[in-house]
Protein backbone atom coordinates (compact mmCIF):
# COMPACT_ATOMS: atom_id res chain seq x y z
CA UNK A 1 0.00 0.00 0.00
CA UNK A 2 1.21 3.46 -0.86
CA UNK A 3 0.72 6.59 1.24
CA UNK A 4 0.54 10.32 0.90
CA UNK A 5 1.14 12.82 3.70
CA UNK A 6 -1.78 15.01 4.81
CA UNK A 7 -1.06 18.17 6.77
CA UNK A 8 -3.54 20.39 8.65
CA UNK A 9 -2.87 24.02 7.81
CA UNK A 10 -4.40 27.27 8.93
CA UNK A 11 -5.17 29.64 6.10
CA UNK A 12 -2.45 32.12 7.00
CA UNK A 13 0.53 33.63 5.25
CA UNK A 14 3.67 31.49 5.52
CA UNK A 15 1.99 28.26 6.63
CA UNK A 16 2.69 26.37 3.36
CA UNK A 17 6.24 27.60 3.50
CA UNK A 18 6.68 26.03 6.95
CA UNK A 19 5.98 22.66 5.32
CA UNK A 20 8.24 23.15 2.33
CA UNK A 21 11.11 24.37 4.49
CA UNK A 22 10.99 21.16 6.56
CA UNK A 23 11.02 19.10 3.38
CA UNK A 24 13.89 21.15 2.00
CA UNK A 25 15.98 20.69 5.14
CA UNK A 26 15.42 16.95 4.97
CA UNK A 27 16.04 16.83 1.21
CA UNK A 28 12.61 15.32 0.51
CA UNK A 29 11.31 15.80 -3.03
CA UNK A 30 7.64 16.57 -3.71
CA UNK A 31 6.21 14.63 -6.62
CA UNK A 32 2.67 15.79 -6.49
CA UNK A 33 0.35 17.83 -4.30
CA UNK A 34 -3.19 18.99 -3.78
CA UNK A 35 -4.51 21.67 -1.48
CA UNK A 36 -8.03 21.63 -0.03
CA UNK A 37 -9.45 24.85 1.33
CA UNK A 38 -12.48 25.03 3.62
CA UNK A 39 -14.60 28.03 4.61
CA UNK A 40 -13.57 27.60 8.24
CA UNK A 41 -10.15 29.20 8.03
CA UNK A 42 -8.15 26.03 7.57
CA UNK A 43 -7.24 23.58 4.83
CA UNK A 44 -5.45 20.33 4.15
CA UNK A 45 -2.33 19.85 2.09
CA UNK A 46 -1.81 16.41 0.53
CA UNK A 47 1.72 15.60 -0.59
CA UNK A 48 3.05 12.71 -2.62
CA UNK A 49 6.69 12.20 -1.73
CA UNK A 50 9.18 9.39 -2.17
CA UNK A 51 9.46 8.67 1.56
CA UNK A 52 6.07 9.45 3.18
CA UNK A 53 6.87 7.93 6.61
CA UNK A 54 10.01 10.02 7.02
CA UNK A 55 8.27 13.17 5.76
CA UNK A 56 5.39 12.65 8.19
CA UNK A 57 7.73 12.14 11.14
CA UNK A 58 9.79 15.22 10.29
CA UNK A 59 6.68 17.41 9.90
CA UNK A 60 5.27 16.19 13.23
CA UNK A 61 8.62 16.84 14.90
CA UNK A 62 8.43 20.40 13.55
CA UNK A 63 5.13 20.80 15.42
CA UNK A 64 2.61 20.23 12.65
CA UNK A 65 -0.42 17.94 12.53
CA UNK A 66 0.52 15.51 9.76
CA UNK A 67 -0.69 12.02 9.04
CA UNK A 68 -0.37 9.27 6.46
CA UNK A 69 -3.26 8.43 4.16
CA UNK A 70 -3.57 5.47 1.85
CA UNK A 71 -3.59 6.17 -1.85
CA UNK A 72 -4.22 4.12 -4.97
CA UNK A 73 -2.68 5.04 -8.35
CA UNK A 74 -3.93 4.04 -11.77
CA UNK A 75 -2.28 4.39 -15.14
CA UNK A 76 -4.07 6.14 -17.98
CA UNK A 77 -3.35 7.44 -21.46
CA UNK A 78 -2.29 11.08 -21.74
CA UNK A 79 -4.75 11.83 -24.56
CA UNK A 80 -8.06 13.71 -24.81
CA UNK A 81 -10.71 11.48 -23.21
CA UNK A 82 -8.11 9.53 -21.27
CA UNK A 83 -9.39 10.55 -17.84
CA UNK A 84 -13.01 10.21 -18.96
CA UNK A 85 -12.41 6.57 -19.89
CA UNK A 86 -10.73 5.89 -16.58
CA UNK A 87 -13.46 7.60 -14.52
CA UNK A 88 -16.18 5.62 -16.31
CA UNK A 89 -14.52 2.43 -15.13
CA UNK A 90 -13.94 3.74 -11.59
CA UNK A 91 -17.62 4.70 -11.38
CA UNK A 92 -18.69 1.28 -12.59
CA UNK A 93 -16.56 -0.18 -9.78
CA UNK A 94 -18.71 1.74 -7.30
CA UNK A 95 -15.78 3.72 -5.92
CA UNK A 96 -16.54 7.20 -4.61
CA UNK A 97 -13.60 9.44 -3.77
CA UNK A 98 -13.25 12.99 -2.47
CA UNK A 99 -9.65 13.81 -3.21
CA UNK A 100 -7.50 12.98 -6.25
CA UNK A 101 -4.85 14.39 -8.52
CA UNK A 102 -3.01 13.44 -11.70
CA UNK A 103 0.49 13.52 -13.04
CA UNK A 104 1.85 13.23 -16.57
CA UNK A 105 4.58 10.61 -16.79
CA UNK A 106 5.29 10.60 -20.55
CA UNK A 107 3.69 13.55 -22.39
CA UNK A 108 1.19 12.39 -24.99
CA UNK A 109 1.58 8.80 -23.83
CA UNK A 110 1.14 8.03 -20.15
CA UNK A 111 -0.24 9.63 -16.99
CA UNK A 112 -0.93 8.46 -13.41
CA UNK A 113 -4.12 9.18 -11.54
CA UNK A 114 -3.92 9.16 -7.71
CA UNK A 115 -6.97 8.59 -5.49
CA UNK A 116 -7.13 9.24 -1.74
CA UNK A 117 -8.27 5.76 -0.64
CA UNK A 118 -8.07 6.16 3.12
CA UNK A 119 -11.77 5.76 3.81
CA UNK A 120 -12.57 3.41 0.91
CA UNK A 121 -12.83 -0.25 1.83
CA UNK A 122 -11.59 -2.97 -0.52
CA UNK A 123 -10.69 -0.43 -3.19
CA UNK A 124 -8.09 -2.68 -4.84
CA UNK A 125 -10.55 -5.55 -5.16
CA UNK A 126 -13.27 -3.26 -6.51
CA UNK A 127 -10.95 -1.77 -9.14
CA UNK A 128 -9.58 -5.14 -10.14
CA UNK A 129 -13.13 -6.41 -10.61
CA UNK A 130 -13.62 -3.89 -13.46
CA UNK A 131 -10.24 -4.64 -15.01
CA UNK A 132 -8.19 -1.83 -13.46
CA UNK A 133 -4.80 -2.65 -11.95
CA UNK A 134 -3.52 -0.37 -9.19
CA UNK A 135 0.15 0.43 -9.67
CA UNK A 136 2.67 -1.05 -7.29
CA UNK A 137 4.42 1.17 -4.74
CA UNK A 138 7.74 1.46 -6.63
CA UNK A 139 5.97 2.99 -9.61
CA UNK A 140 3.96 5.36 -7.40
CA UNK A 141 6.93 6.77 -5.52
CA UNK A 142 8.81 7.10 -8.82
CA UNK A 143 12.47 7.11 -9.37
Amino acid sequence: MAYQVSIFLENKIGRLERVTSVLKENRINIQNMSLIHTANGWGILNLLVSCPERACTKLCEAGMSASLRKIVALEMQDVPGGLDGLLTKIASAGVNFTNAYGRVVEPGQKAFFFIDADQIEDINEKLQAVGLTPLNDDLIYGV
Partner: protein, 441 residues
Protein backbone atom coordinates in the same frame (compact mmCIF):
# COMPACT_ATOMS: atom_id res chain seq x y z
CA UNK B 1 -44.21 64.81 37.45
CA UNK B 2 -40.86 63.19 36.78
CA UNK B 3 -40.65 60.99 39.88
CA UNK B 4 -42.26 57.61 40.53
CA UNK B 5 -41.89 57.98 44.32
CA UNK B 6 -40.91 61.56 45.00
CA UNK B 7 -40.84 61.02 48.78
CA UNK B 8 -38.01 58.52 48.34
CA UNK B 9 -36.19 59.79 45.26
CA UNK B 10 -35.36 63.32 46.43
CA UNK B 11 -34.73 62.64 50.12
CA UNK B 12 -31.87 64.56 51.69
CA UNK B 13 -28.75 62.45 52.13
CA UNK B 14 -29.27 62.59 55.88
CA UNK B 15 -32.80 61.21 55.64
CA UNK B 16 -31.70 58.62 53.11
CA UNK B 17 -28.94 57.44 55.42
CA UNK B 18 -31.42 57.19 58.28
CA UNK B 19 -33.53 54.84 56.16
CA UNK B 20 -30.41 52.89 55.22
CA UNK B 21 -29.42 52.36 58.86
CA UNK B 22 -32.91 51.20 59.83
CA UNK B 23 -33.10 48.84 56.88
CA UNK B 24 -29.56 47.59 57.35
CA UNK B 25 -30.35 46.52 60.92
CA UNK B 26 -33.50 44.80 59.73
CA UNK B 27 -31.60 43.13 56.89
CA UNK B 28 -28.89 41.83 59.20
CA UNK B 29 -31.44 40.41 61.65
CA UNK B 30 -33.22 38.73 58.76
CA UNK B 31 -29.93 37.46 57.24
CA UNK B 32 -29.02 35.89 60.61
CA UNK B 33 -31.93 33.48 60.11
CA UNK B 34 -30.14 31.84 57.18
CA UNK B 35 -27.79 28.93 57.97
CA UNK B 36 -24.85 30.72 56.35
CA UNK B 37 -25.10 34.18 57.93
CA UNK B 38 -26.46 32.72 61.18
CA UNK B 39 -23.27 30.81 61.80
CA UNK B 40 -21.00 33.54 60.44
CA UNK B 41 -22.56 36.31 62.56
CA UNK B 42 -22.39 34.15 65.71
CA UNK B 43 -18.75 33.39 65.03
CA UNK B 44 -17.87 37.07 64.43
CA UNK B 45 -20.15 38.35 67.22
CA UNK B 46 -22.09 40.61 64.88
CA UNK B 47 -25.03 42.33 66.53
CA UNK B 48 -27.29 44.34 64.21
CA UNK B 49 -28.58 46.55 67.08
CA UNK B 50 -25.16 48.15 67.45
CA UNK B 51 -25.28 49.67 63.98
CA UNK B 52 -26.17 53.35 63.97
CA UNK B 53 -24.12 54.64 61.01
CA UNK B 54 -23.96 53.26 57.46
CA UNK B 55 -20.14 53.33 57.52
CA UNK B 56 -20.20 50.59 60.14
CA UNK B 57 -21.01 48.25 57.28
CA UNK B 58 -17.25 48.18 56.66
CA UNK B 59 -16.85 46.06 59.77
CA UNK B 60 -19.01 43.32 58.23
CA UNK B 61 -17.62 40.44 56.16
CA UNK B 62 -17.86 40.34 52.38
CA UNK B 63 -19.98 37.77 50.56
CA UNK B 64 -18.64 36.29 47.32
CA UNK B 65 -20.07 34.29 44.45
CA UNK B 66 -18.05 31.35 45.75
CA UNK B 67 -19.87 31.61 49.12
CA UNK B 68 -23.17 31.38 47.24
CA UNK B 69 -21.94 28.33 45.34
CA UNK B 70 -20.52 26.65 48.42
CA UNK B 71 -23.87 26.91 50.21
CA UNK B 72 -26.01 25.97 47.25
CA UNK B 73 -28.95 25.70 47.11
CA UNK B 74 -30.56 26.72 50.43
CA UNK B 75 -27.69 27.96 52.64
CA UNK B 76 -28.68 31.65 52.29
CA UNK B 77 -32.41 31.13 52.58
CA UNK B 78 -33.98 32.86 55.62
CA UNK B 79 -37.52 31.58 55.25
CA UNK B 80 -39.25 28.23 54.87
CA UNK B 81 -39.82 27.24 51.24
CA UNK B 82 -43.56 27.73 51.80
CA UNK B 83 -42.94 31.51 51.86
CA UNK B 84 -40.76 31.59 48.75
CA UNK B 85 -42.52 32.20 45.43
CA UNK B 86 -39.76 32.39 42.80
CA UNK B 87 -36.13 31.63 42.10
CA UNK B 88 -33.77 32.92 39.43
CA UNK B 89 -30.55 31.12 38.69
CA UNK B 90 -27.45 31.30 36.54
CA UNK B 91 -26.83 28.49 34.05
CA UNK B 92 -23.63 27.37 35.85
CA UNK B 93 -23.29 23.76 34.77
CA UNK B 94 -19.62 24.09 35.71
CA UNK B 95 -19.83 24.09 39.49
CA UNK B 96 -23.00 25.04 41.30
CA UNK B 97 -25.22 27.71 39.78
CA UNK B 98 -25.94 30.94 41.64
CA UNK B 99 -29.54 30.92 42.78
CA UNK B 100 -31.54 33.75 44.33
CA UNK B 101 -34.88 33.19 46.10
CA UNK B 102 -37.68 35.71 46.44
CA UNK B 103 -40.73 35.84 48.66
CA UNK B 104 -43.83 37.85 47.75
CA UNK B 105 -42.44 41.01 49.36
CA UNK B 106 -39.20 40.70 47.36
CA UNK B 107 -40.99 40.33 44.05
CA UNK B 108 -43.20 43.37 44.81
CA UNK B 109 -40.22 45.43 45.94
CA UNK B 110 -38.25 44.48 42.81
CA UNK B 111 -41.20 45.28 40.53
CA UNK B 112 -41.48 48.67 42.21
CA UNK B 113 -37.75 49.43 41.78
CA UNK B 114 -38.05 48.40 38.15
CA UNK B 115 -41.08 50.65 37.65
CA UNK B 116 -39.22 53.51 39.38
CA UNK B 117 -36.26 52.91 37.03
CA UNK B 118 -38.39 52.92 33.90
CA UNK B 119 -40.28 56.00 35.04
CA UNK B 120 -36.93 57.68 35.70
CA UNK B 121 -35.95 57.05 32.06
CA UNK B 122 -39.25 58.54 30.88
CA UNK B 123 -41.51 55.50 30.37
CA UNK B 124 -45.19 56.22 31.20
CA UNK B 125 -48.39 54.20 31.50
CA UNK B 126 -49.43 55.36 28.02
CA UNK B 127 -46.48 53.51 26.47
CA UNK B 128 -46.46 50.20 24.59
CA UNK B 129 -43.36 48.40 25.88
CA UNK B 130 -41.82 45.51 23.91
CA UNK B 131 -39.37 43.50 26.00
CA UNK B 132 -36.91 41.89 23.56
CA UNK B 133 -34.85 39.74 25.95
CA UNK B 134 -35.03 36.10 27.02
CA UNK B 135 -37.61 35.14 29.64
CA UNK B 136 -37.10 32.23 32.04
CA UNK B 137 -34.29 31.97 34.57
CA UNK B 138 -32.63 35.07 33.07
CA UNK B 139 -33.82 38.05 35.15
CA UNK B 140 -34.11 40.49 32.22
CA UNK B 141 -37.35 38.93 31.03
CA UNK B 142 -39.55 38.69 34.12
CA UNK B 143 -37.76 41.56 35.90
CA UNK B 144 -38.78 44.03 33.21
CA UNK B 145 -42.16 42.34 32.75
CA UNK B 146 -43.22 42.94 36.36
CA UNK B 147 -41.84 46.49 36.26
CA UNK B 148 -43.73 47.38 33.09
CA UNK B 149 -46.93 45.97 34.58
CA UNK B 150 -46.37 47.76 37.90
CA UNK B 151 -45.88 51.01 35.98
CA UNK B 152 -49.01 50.34 33.98
CA UNK B 153 -47.69 50.45 30.42
CA UNK B 154 -48.92 47.91 27.87
CA UNK B 155 -46.34 45.12 27.90
CA UNK B 156 -45.42 42.93 24.95
CA UNK B 157 -43.39 39.99 26.34
CA UNK B 158 -41.77 39.33 22.96
CA UNK B 159 -38.69 37.46 24.20
CA UNK B 160 -35.40 37.38 22.28
CA UNK B 161 -34.75 36.77 18.60
CA UNK B 162 -36.77 36.47 15.38
CA UNK B 163 -36.27 40.03 14.15
CA UNK B 164 -38.96 39.91 11.50
CA UNK B 165 -41.55 38.99 14.11
CA UNK B 166 -40.22 41.73 16.41
CA UNK B 167 -40.72 44.28 13.64
CA UNK B 168 -44.22 43.01 12.95
CA UNK B 169 -45.12 43.30 16.65
CA UNK B 170 -43.69 46.80 16.77
CA UNK B 171 -45.69 47.90 13.74
CA UNK B 172 -48.95 46.10 14.53
CA UNK B 173 -49.22 47.31 18.13
CA UNK B 174 -47.52 50.69 17.83
CA UNK B 175 -44.63 49.88 20.18
CA UNK B 176 -43.22 53.07 21.72
CA UNK B 177 -40.45 51.60 23.94
CA UNK B 178 -38.18 48.61 23.46
CA UNK B 179 -35.70 46.98 25.81
CA UNK B 180 -32.88 44.92 24.25
CA UNK B 181 -29.17 44.28 24.55
CA UNK B 182 -27.20 46.89 22.56
CA UNK B 183 -25.58 44.43 20.12
CA UNK B 184 -29.01 43.12 19.13
CA UNK B 185 -30.31 46.57 18.22
CA UNK B 186 -27.68 46.85 15.46
CA UNK B 187 -28.94 43.61 13.98
CA UNK B 188 -32.58 44.64 14.35
CA UNK B 189 -31.81 47.83 12.45
CA UNK B 190 -30.26 45.82 9.60
CA UNK B 191 -33.42 43.73 9.34
CA UNK B 192 -35.49 46.93 9.22
CA UNK B 193 -33.34 48.06 6.29
CA UNK B 194 -33.53 44.68 4.55
CA UNK B 195 -37.32 44.90 4.72
CA UNK B 196 -37.21 48.36 3.17
CA UNK B 197 -38.34 49.94 6.45
CA UNK B 198 -37.01 52.82 8.50
CA UNK B 199 -37.68 52.63 12.26
CA UNK B 200 -37.86 56.44 12.42
CA UNK B 201 -40.57 56.63 9.74
CA UNK B 202 -42.33 53.28 10.10
CA UNK B 203 -42.66 52.88 13.90
CA UNK B 204 -43.91 54.94 16.81
CA UNK B 205 -40.79 54.27 18.85
CA UNK B 206 -39.96 57.06 21.30
CA UNK B 207 -37.28 55.59 23.55
CA UNK B 208 -34.97 52.62 24.00
CA UNK B 209 -33.70 50.84 27.10
CA UNK B 210 -30.37 49.03 26.76
CA UNK B 211 -28.37 46.92 29.20
CA UNK B 212 -26.95 43.53 30.20
CA UNK B 213 -23.88 43.98 27.97
CA UNK B 214 -20.83 46.25 28.02
CA UNK B 215 -20.97 49.04 25.47
CA UNK B 216 -19.43 52.44 24.90
CA UNK B 217 -20.93 55.89 24.72
CA UNK B 218 -20.16 55.85 20.97
CA UNK B 219 -22.16 52.65 20.50
CA UNK B 220 -25.07 54.16 22.39
CA UNK B 221 -24.95 57.27 20.22
CA UNK B 222 -24.88 55.12 17.08
CA UNK B 223 -27.96 53.21 18.26
CA UNK B 224 -29.70 56.49 19.01
CA UNK B 225 -28.91 57.74 15.50
CA UNK B 226 -30.23 54.55 13.88
CA UNK B 227 -33.55 54.65 15.72
CA UNK B 228 -33.80 58.42 16.09
CA UNK B 229 -34.62 58.21 19.82
CA UNK B 230 -32.74 58.30 23.12
CA UNK B 231 -31.31 55.06 24.55
CA UNK B 232 -31.16 54.73 28.36
CA UNK B 233 -28.74 52.53 30.23
CA UNK B 234 -30.00 49.88 32.62
CA UNK B 235 -27.84 48.09 35.20
CA UNK B 236 -28.54 45.10 37.35
CA UNK B 237 -27.31 41.67 38.35
CA UNK B 238 -29.26 38.63 39.41
CA UNK B 239 -27.68 38.57 42.89
CA UNK B 240 -29.20 42.03 43.46
CA UNK B 241 -32.55 40.88 41.92
CA UNK B 242 -31.69 41.64 38.31
CA UNK B 243 -32.54 44.80 36.35
CA UNK B 244 -33.76 47.82 38.30
CA UNK B 245 -30.65 48.27 40.45
CA UNK B 246 -29.44 51.43 38.71
CA UNK B 247 -30.86 53.40 35.80
CA UNK B 248 -30.25 56.52 33.79
CA UNK B 249 -32.51 59.53 34.07
CA UNK B 250 -33.29 62.03 31.31
CA UNK B 251 -29.78 63.54 31.64
CA UNK B 252 -28.07 60.28 30.63
CA UNK B 253 -25.00 61.03 32.72
CA UNK B 254 -24.49 58.03 34.95
CA UNK B 255 -26.97 55.61 36.49
CA UNK B 256 -28.86 56.44 39.70
CA UNK B 257 -28.38 53.51 42.03
CA UNK B 258 -31.33 53.09 44.38
CA UNK B 259 -29.82 53.65 47.79
CA UNK B 260 -32.99 53.04 49.77
CA UNK B 261 -32.76 49.45 48.46
CA UNK B 262 -28.99 48.92 48.44
CA UNK B 263 -25.92 50.06 50.34
CA UNK B 264 -23.34 50.87 47.69
CA UNK B 265 -19.60 50.69 48.25
CA UNK B 266 -16.71 50.97 45.81
CA UNK B 267 -13.58 49.18 47.02
CA UNK B 268 -10.11 48.55 45.72
CA UNK B 269 -10.37 44.93 44.52
CA UNK B 270 -6.89 44.15 45.91
CA UNK B 271 -6.89 45.85 49.30
CA UNK B 272 -10.72 45.76 49.69
CA UNK B 273 -10.48 49.25 51.18
CA UNK B 274 -12.97 51.95 50.10
CA UNK B 275 -11.88 54.29 47.31
CA UNK B 276 -12.82 57.97 47.03
CA UNK B 277 -15.81 59.08 44.96
CA UNK B 278 -14.75 59.40 41.33
CA UNK B 279 -12.19 56.63 41.59
CA UNK B 280 -12.69 53.27 39.94
CA UNK B 281 -13.02 50.12 42.00
CA UNK B 282 -15.18 47.08 42.55
CA UNK B 283 -18.86 47.60 43.24
CA UNK B 284 -19.93 46.01 46.53
CA UNK B 285 -23.63 45.91 47.36
CA UNK B 286 -25.86 45.06 50.30
CA UNK B 287 -29.58 44.46 49.84
CA UNK B 288 -31.78 46.59 52.12
CA UNK B 289 -35.24 45.45 51.14
CA UNK B 290 -35.00 41.73 50.53
CA UNK B 291 -36.40 39.16 52.94
CA UNK B 292 -36.05 35.74 51.32
CA UNK B 293 -32.34 35.97 50.66
CA UNK B 294 -30.60 39.14 51.86
CA UNK B 295 -26.97 39.54 50.81
CA UNK B 296 -24.40 41.48 52.82
CA UNK B 297 -21.47 43.25 51.13
CA UNK B 298 -21.74 41.16 47.99
CA UNK B 299 -18.69 41.53 45.77
CA UNK B 300 -20.21 42.06 42.31
CA UNK B 301 -16.78 41.97 40.57
CA UNK B 302 -18.03 44.82 38.35
CA UNK B 303 -15.64 47.73 38.04
CA UNK B 304 -17.18 51.20 38.12
CA UNK B 305 -17.03 54.42 40.12
CA UNK B 306 -19.33 56.83 41.91
CA UNK B 307 -19.84 59.97 39.84
CA UNK B 308 -19.29 62.90 42.21
CA UNK B 309 -21.71 65.82 42.25
CA UNK B 310 -25.46 66.31 42.08
CA UNK B 311 -27.68 65.37 39.15
CA UNK B 312 -29.83 68.15 37.66
CA UNK B 313 -32.84 65.80 37.82
CA UNK B 314 -33.00 66.36 41.58
CA UNK B 315 -32.67 62.73 42.61
CA UNK B 316 -30.33 62.36 45.57
CA UNK B 317 -29.46 58.71 44.95
CA UNK B 318 -25.88 58.72 43.76
CA UNK B 319 -24.88 57.82 40.21
CA UNK B 320 -22.48 55.07 39.10
CA UNK B 321 -20.58 55.17 35.84
CA UNK B 322 -21.10 52.48 33.19
CA UNK B 323 -19.32 49.23 33.99
CA UNK B 324 -15.80 49.34 32.57
CA UNK B 325 -14.60 45.83 33.39
CA UNK B 326 -14.47 42.97 35.85
CA UNK B 327 -12.20 42.12 38.74
CA UNK B 328 -12.48 38.41 37.87
CA UNK B 329 -12.29 36.62 34.54
CA UNK B 330 -15.99 36.62 33.78
CA UNK B 331 -17.03 38.33 30.57
CA UNK B 332 -20.40 39.17 29.07
CA UNK B 333 -21.17 38.38 25.46
CA UNK B 334 -24.59 38.89 23.88
CA UNK B 335 -26.07 39.30 27.36
CA UNK B 336 -24.70 35.97 28.61
CA UNK B 337 -22.29 35.77 31.54
CA UNK B 338 -19.41 33.50 30.60
CA UNK B 339 -16.47 32.22 32.64
CA UNK B 340 -13.48 30.80 30.71
CA UNK B 341 -13.71 27.77 33.03
CA UNK B 342 -17.01 26.83 31.41
CA UNK B 343 -15.41 26.75 27.96
CA UNK B 344 -12.46 24.82 29.37
CA UNK B 345 -14.83 22.30 30.95
CA UNK B 346 -16.44 21.60 27.58
CA UNK B 347 -13.12 21.30 25.75
CA UNK B 348 -11.58 18.96 28.33
CA UNK B 349 -14.36 16.47 27.60
CA UNK B 350 -13.51 16.44 23.88
CA UNK B 351 -10.45 14.21 23.43
CA UNK B 352 -9.77 15.36 19.86
CA UNK B 353 -8.61 18.82 20.91
CA UNK B 354 -5.71 19.87 23.07
CA UNK B 355 -5.99 21.55 26.46
CA UNK B 356 -4.99 24.90 25.04
CA UNK B 357 -7.59 27.32 23.82
CA UNK B 358 -8.00 31.02 23.19
CA UNK B 359 -11.20 32.99 23.48
CA UNK B 360 -11.30 36.20 21.44
CA UNK B 361 -14.15 38.62 21.87
CA UNK B 362 -14.40 40.82 18.81
CA UNK B 363 -16.83 43.05 17.01
CA UNK B 364 -17.44 41.55 13.56
CA UNK B 365 -19.75 43.45 11.19
CA UNK B 366 -21.13 45.43 14.11
CA UNK B 367 -22.00 42.38 16.18
CA UNK B 368 -20.05 41.13 19.19
CA UNK B 369 -18.84 37.56 18.71
CA UNK B 370 -17.04 34.99 20.83
CA UNK B 371 -14.36 33.21 18.80
CA UNK B 372 -12.97 30.04 20.37
CA UNK B 373 -9.73 28.74 18.89
CA UNK B 374 -8.76 25.16 19.70
CA UNK B 375 -5.75 23.15 18.62
CA UNK B 376 -6.25 19.99 16.60
CA UNK B 377 -4.33 17.22 18.35
CA UNK B 378 -1.55 15.72 16.28
CA UNK B 379 -2.34 12.12 17.13
CA UNK B 380 -6.02 12.49 16.29
CA UNK B 381 -5.59 14.25 12.96
CA UNK B 382 -5.92 11.95 9.94
CA UNK B 383 -6.38 14.36 7.05
CA UNK B 384 -10.13 13.87 6.75
CA UNK B 385 -11.97 17.14 6.01
CA UNK B 386 -15.43 15.81 6.93
CA UNK B 387 -14.18 14.65 10.32
CA UNK B 388 -12.75 18.10 11.10
CA UNK B 389 -16.00 19.77 10.04
CA UNK B 390 -17.94 17.43 12.31
CA UNK B 391 -15.60 18.24 15.19
CA UNK B 392 -16.14 21.97 14.63
CA UNK B 393 -19.91 21.52 14.79
CA UNK B 394 -19.66 19.33 17.89
CA UNK B 395 -17.56 21.89 19.79
CA UNK B 396 -19.83 24.76 18.67
CA UNK B 397 -22.97 22.98 19.90
CA UNK B 398 -21.51 21.88 23.20
CA UNK B 399 -20.22 25.36 24.04
CA UNK B 400 -23.56 26.87 23.05
CA UNK B 401 -25.40 24.43 25.34
CA UNK B 402 -23.08 25.39 28.18
CA UNK B 403 -22.96 29.19 27.93
CA UNK B 404 -26.23 29.77 26.01
CA UNK B 405 -24.65 31.76 23.19
CA UNK B 406 -23.23 30.38 19.96
CA UNK B 407 -19.47 30.72 19.53
CA UNK B 408 -17.46 30.81 16.32
CA UNK B 409 -15.15 27.79 16.66
CA UNK B 410 -11.85 27.83 14.78
CA UNK B 411 -9.53 24.84 14.58
CA UNK B 412 -5.88 25.82 14.61
CA UNK B 413 -2.54 24.08 14.26
CA UNK B 414 -0.96 22.65 17.42
CA UNK B 415 1.33 25.13 19.13
CA UNK B 416 -0.25 28.15 17.47
CA UNK B 417 -2.06 29.42 20.56
CA UNK B 418 0.18 31.93 22.31
CA UNK B 419 1.41 30.99 25.76
CA UNK B 420 2.61 33.36 28.42
CA UNK B 421 4.91 32.29 31.24
CA UNK B 422 3.79 28.69 31.14
CA UNK B 423 0.15 29.56 31.63
CA UNK B 424 -1.97 30.12 28.58
CA UNK B 425 -3.67 33.45 27.96
CA UNK B 426 -7.34 32.51 27.88
CA UNK B 427 -9.31 35.57 26.84
CA UNK B 428 -8.54 38.46 24.51
CA UNK B 429 -11.10 41.23 24.36
CA UNK B 430 -10.92 43.26 21.14
CA UNK B 431 -14.49 44.51 21.27
CA UNK B 432 -15.14 48.12 20.43
CA UNK B 433 -16.81 48.62 23.83
CA UNK B 434 -13.70 47.86 25.82
CA UNK B 435 -11.31 49.89 23.72
CA UNK B 436 -12.82 52.89 25.46
CA UNK B 437 -12.51 51.28 28.89
CA UNK B 438 -10.59 53.63 31.10
CA UNK B 439 -10.00 51.42 34.11
CA UNK B 440 -6.33 50.47 34.37
CA UNK B 441 -6.36 46.66 34.31
Amino acid sequence: MIYWEKELEVLSRKELEKIQVERLRKTLSQAARSPYYGELFRKLHITPEKIDRVEQIRELPFTTKQDLRDHYPYGFLTLPKRDIIRLHSSSGTTGNPTVIFHNRHDICSWANLMARSLFCAGVRDTDVFQNIVGYGLFTGGLGFQYGIERLGALSIPAGAGNSQRQIKLMRDYGTTVIHAIPSYLGRLYEVFQAEGLDPQRDTELRLLVIGAEPHTEEQRRRIEEMFGVKAFNSFGLSEMNGPGVAFECEYQSGLHIWEDAYVVEIVDPKTLQPVADGEYGELVMTTLDREGMPLVRYRTRDITRILPGDCPCGRTHRRIDRITGRSDDMFIIKGCNVYPMQIEGVLLKIPEVGADYLITLDTLNGSDEMIVEVEVKRDWFNGDVARLDKLTRQITNQIRDEVLTKPIVRLVEPGSIPKSEGKAVRVRDLRAALKAGNYPA
